[in-house]
Symmetry: D2
Subunit: 145 residues, 4 copies
């Protein structure tokens, strides 16, 4: 992974404060984990009311935590006084979202003045096993707060 | 829009029955609307606990209903004894998900023996106004039940 | 299709002049067709040296003309003194690129101050028949010339 | 990178033979480099007749070599008697395609019985410098020959 230099020294506090006000992510039961320059992790426990069928979490919910992990990864590198919004993303689903808990990791690929590109994965933990569930490529834009 | 011939005459009952067992979509408060060969609509009311900030619904939630509308659109054309699973999708977010209610419409672009490609839009209704929120291109695969 | 108001009255001359200096598109034997506000068409005859196997044009070449048609569609709506560059795209290939000639049509979905989203299709003409080859969703950015 | 076990011991000969019959890739002046289980590299020298403007190679041409590197990466893991075709891909362009030569590297993310997902990058070499030009996520399907 490329090393990134944060433009805002308070990047971690900024990300954690924003996360704490993110209603939808609380509704999904997520917890913010690692927050490094250009990298963020979000965890979600299994919740029966977010499944599509047979104990598999809905792909849109998987996308929600992955989208968020990538968005916050971009946000770690944004300048003071700017915010980040999602322009578009694409996700491949490579295995069933079955497990006790899920980890979404977002990483910045390229951080530009306006456009940031990130990639990310969701891993499922089922008993002791770790499995790849989904992989994302996402474009974000920075704009004044 | 291309006209499609359903491979299963009971396509509507099949879709409505599957939808009724979709836990995550109930959690999101969605309602199944139009079910035609190759086209499905899903509605979702505004819910404060699904917002990211400032009354805007989280983009992952917008994706969830769009993904589902497209998946069911593909399912209307699937053969008896087969099911549909999402291989991948891509979404562009073109306007804020702000409104009293949201309509996701999925349409089949091409229905093959194995692979189905759909496109879809999410519209927001804010007072009397209709606005485009997101547009999707999605690949699905049919497999034995 | 939404009607668009061009920001630059000389949009057609601007697009045709830019196209005439596009070396790669000449190498591919393309011809610029319709140029309307928010919509552009590019044609390409079959060329044996652009095939992958068995008379089917390489998917990257199909993407090249589709990418270009969408890029010029975005360019028809750009302000005086700005240019358009491709941020990202996604393409589904829904039928073999087999035919005497191919038509790429790009259309603007949303034209913003910075970001433009387009969609587009490539059609193959084989004898009298018209068939859908590929469908694209693309994000472009406008920047000072 | 995950280690992959080829299903066909003659995977390298198979890939090199298929590449040698790929007309479009010869037209683009490409050379096949590394061929390992789940990983393939393709090189392309700068060619003035493939540029869009100002010495920058057309994004569709960049996509062509990336698409091919990923397709052959998937093909290294395919069973005897099967071929691989591109279902869809998405590409982010993160830097100008400017350089003396370009390297496309494709890697398998997941190799299934029917569906294979790959990722890939194009790097530009400009003098001594290496720069990331584009990154791809691609879905391929295996089918009987």
């Amino acid at each position: 992974m490329t090393r990134f230099e944060p433009r805002d020294p308070d990047f971690e506090a900024k990300v954690r404060s924003r996360f704490s006000r993110q209603t939808a992510l609380h509704t999904l039961g997520t917890v913010l984990g690692l927050v490094e320059p250009g990298e963020v992790e979000i965890e979600m426990p299994y919740q029966a009311d977010l499944t599509q069928e047979c104990g598999v979490v809905h792909s849109g919910i998987v996308t929600s935590i992955l989208d968020s992990a990538c968005g916050y990864a971009a946000f770690t590198l944004s300048s003071v006084g700017t915010t980040i919004s999602t322009v578009e993303y694409k996700v491949n689903f490579v295995g069933p979202a079955r497990g006790d808990r899920f980890l979404a990791r977002g990483e910045v690929v390229r951080s530009g003045a306006t456009v940031t590109v990130c990639k990310g994965n969701v891993l499922a933990y089922d008993g002791g096993e770790e499995k790849l569930v989904a992989t994302m490529l996402i474009t974000l834009m920075s704009m004044p707060n």
